[in-house]
């Protein structure tokens, strides 16, 4: 029983990290219908921002993650302004290929500048700290990440559902032309959505160096899982992405421990296929 609880806890904590990575993608995909292939590279760059701030200026990731968020907000806005803007109204494949190119550029830039060496930030406030909760081992960095994830996902959801800006975002997502006729500056909405989507993933990448090594390939698997979270949760549904992420974390942990560790991603992709087959619009899709 203790082992089951431990596996469940690990799964939920990993799922919360996936949710934090996925929420920005969900926002961008839901509003703009753009698949941002550079999402994993945003994670990676935010990790580097935090790492270098920690390494060179001794700033802890708990503080520097906000710098990561800000950096990726700017990067996201620039991505829209310099690349995505010119693909809107074009065949969907053009935005996809453009962000794929951006992903390659960012990854190879980091490979070139920082080498493929992996880097670990030592002596962080959370470090490798754990505490016992009965028989359970609770890792503090992952727990704090989960709390950050809940706050960020909650705030993003609140912003979209309950603010004037959020209503404008929803209106733009539903019908761009009608939104423009209502006086909404859709260009600005797109720019901010890409920026905010980037900022959330920047926060995710910013906190990750407390317990994960930083290297140019680190974002690849996270972005793949983020895509699945968004597709499984329902395109544009923030609660859907959260539920899907936790489900993926738990299925991955249970499948990995009780069936076979090598089976954990098979279980995740199997679940994804089952959901998409039974409900093509995702759990919360409409």
């Amino acid at each position: 029983m203790d082992t089951l609880l431990q596996v469940l806890l690990d799964g939920i904590l990993n799922g919360m990290l996936y949710a934090l990575v996925a929420v920005g993608l969900c926002l961008i995909w839901g509003v703009m219908d753009v698949i941002n292939f550079a999402h994993g590279e945003y994670v990676m760059i935010a990790m580097y921002v935090t790492y270098w701030l920690g390494f060179l200026a001794n700033v802890d990731p708990l503080i520097s993650m906000f710098a990561g968020g800000l950096f990726i907000f700017i990067l996201g806005a620039l991505t829209y302004r310099l690349i995505i803007k010119y693909t809107i109204g074009k065949p969907p494949l053009s935005a996809l290929l453009a962000t794929f190119g951006l992903a390659m550029l960012l990854k190879n830039l980091c490979l070139n500048q920082f080498t493929p060496n992996f880097r670990i930030l030592s002596d962080t406030w959370l470090g490798d700290k754990t505490f016992q909760l009965g028989a359970l081992i609770v890792p503090l960095p992952q727990l704090v990440t989960a709390i950050v994830a809940l706050v960020v996902v909650g705030l993003t959801y609140y912003m979209v559902r309950s603010t004037r800006f959020g209503w404008a975002v929803q209106a733009t997502a539903m019908d761009k032309e009608a939104a423009e006729l209502m006086g909404i500056n859709t260009e600005r909405i797109y720019l901010l959505v890409f920026g905010i989507g980037g900022a959330t993933v920047g926060l995710a990448g910013g906190i990750m160096p407390t317990y994960l090594a930083v290297h140019p390939e680190v974002g690849t698997m996270f972005s793949l899982i983020a895509f699945i979270c968004v597709a499984m949760g329902g395109f544009g549904s923030i609660p859907g992405a959260l539920v899907a992420a936790i489900l993926i974390g738990v299925v991955e942990a249970l499948g990995g421990y009780y069936i076979a560790p090598v089976f954990k991603y098979v279980a995740v992709f199997g679940l994804y296929l089952a959901v998409v087959f039974l409900r093509p619009k995702g759990i919360f899709g409409w």
Partner: protein, 426 residues
């Protein structure tokens, strides 16, 4: 009309001149240069890019030595005298991304389009396997430095494949010998059970197979057999599975950042075996000790070279100076040095054969024992199948961030710390 004709003549003359400049002139230069093109295939991007980049730098180091005079370097052909002095090695680098299909396609491109004379690579056993098959079909020599899967040299029909490094078969037996030795020499060692954690690739799976065979032969019971997906976001269920079986010893075939993640996850789960032995890479990567700090300590692994061996291999120092200029001052590790060795041995064989006929050079490679001051044994000789039968490695343990030699005892410079210290007692 005349005016038009003369203009055409001028145009024709210009065209001929341009053709001569672009086409004929370089051809003449190339003929004078006498170039030997070598294609490299390494994972320059992807999860093990770090190792791949170093392997590339290692081949470049060898070529820099071979193409120029280096009287201070005590390796064969560094004096740039002899038949090969009239030749220059040129490298054509490719990136396999650690993927077998990409590596195979690059091998085909290197041979068919780039026209390379031989190939060197490919670090990942899973890439070396198909890429070397391509080379074999084209009758091109494939020098393999670091791929460790024993299966690579268990292909009796291969005539052009040569590997300088040790194999996971040899390492598995060495690890089992270490366990027996610990049981004999350490108080209450009582090592009986074994866990395996390995990446789900040709390298990992083959290492695990060899480990199982060696464990059975040595009387140890494998209680945990845990493959994992390279580049995974976490290794929680993998380490949890091993922890639940609590083996006395753990054999790991884990590369690059995955190795760091494995160690960190073991720490998070507050579990450690009595002894942990690791196949090539991962553990022996000099970045590990630096990045993991004290957490890297007390793990063991087999190593063909580490900077701490410098006293035993004095020729390495000068070569390593060149290598470090290409790697941001990171020294050789056990894998990368094998790529330099492979390139130097190939050059020696060409020199001895005085021929660029791959068949003649391959036969020469088999027929001789090659001096290799960068190898632990000091020599390289190939058995049928292409395996270097003189490859040696030493089992080391990280103590205070240094790779300390512990086995075989005649090569040891310290005693093992056994069992590994628990995480809360460090």
């Amino acid at each position: 009309m005349v005016h038009c004709k003369s203009r055409m003549t001028i145009c024709l003359l210009i065209a001929v001149a341009v053709t001569l400049m672009l086409g004929v002139a370089p051809a003449t230069t190339l003929a004078q240069e006498k170039v030997i093109k070598i294609g490299t295939i390494f994972p320059l991007t992807g999860p093990v890019a770090l190792a791949g980049q170093r392997c590339k730098a290692a081949v470049e180091t060898a070529v820099e030595i071979l193409n120029n005079k280096h009287p201070n370097i005590k390796v064969p052909l560094a004096d740039k005298k002899g038949w090969l002095a009239g030749y220059k090695f040129v490298l054509v680098h490719t990136d396999s991304q650690g993927k077998p299909d990409v590596g195979k396609a690059e091998a085909e491109r290197l041979i068919n389009q780039e026209g390379v004379w031989a190939l060197i690579g490919a670090y990942n056993s899973s890439v070396s396997m198909p890429a070397s098959m391509v080379a074999e079909r084209a009758k091109k020599i494939f020098m393999c430095g670091a791929s460790s899967s024993a299966a690579l040299t268990q292909r009796p029909d291969m005539k052009y494949f040569f590997r300088t490094a040790s194999t996971d078969e040899v390492e598995s037996h060495e690890f089992v010998e270490v366990l027996k030795w610990l049981n004999k020499t350490q108080k209450n060692a009582n090592v009986k059970t074994l866990g395996l954690i390995y990446e789900n690739s040709v390298f990992g799976k083959h290492a695990a197979e060899e480990a199982k065979k060696a464990a059975a032969a040595g009387g140890f019971t494998v209680v945990a057999d845990v493959p994992f997906t390279p580049g995974a976001t976490n290794l929680d269920s993998e380490v949890q599975t091993v922890k639940s079986k609590n083996p006395d010893a753990l054999f790991g075939a884990v590369l690059g950042a995955d190795y760091a993640l494995m160690v960190k996850t073991m720490k998070k789960m507050n579990w450690i075996p009595k002894v942990s032995l690791n196949y090539c890479s991962g553990y022996q990567d000099p970045v590990i000790a630096k990045q993991l700090g004290p957490d890297a300590d007390f793990f063991m692994g087999s190593t063909g070279y580490s900077p701490e061996f410098a006293g035993m291999m004095p020729a390495v120092a000068e070569v390593e100076k060149i290598f470090k200029t290409k790697t941001n001052n990171v020294p050789y590790d056990s894998d990368s040095i094998q790529e330099t060795i492979a390139m130097l041995v190939l050059a020696q064989a060409i020199e001895k054969a005085k021929s660029l006929d791959p068949e003649v050079v391959a036969k020469t490679l088999y027929a001789n024992t090659w001096p290799s001051p960068l190898s632990l044994s000091g020599k390289v000789a190939f058995a049928p199948g292409g395996q270097n039968k003189l490859a040696l490695s030493i089992v080391t343990q990280l103590q205070g961030g240094k790779y300390k030699r512990i086995f075989p005892t005649e090569k040891a410079d310290t005693k093992p710390i056994f069992p590994m210290k628990a995480w809360d007692k460090r």
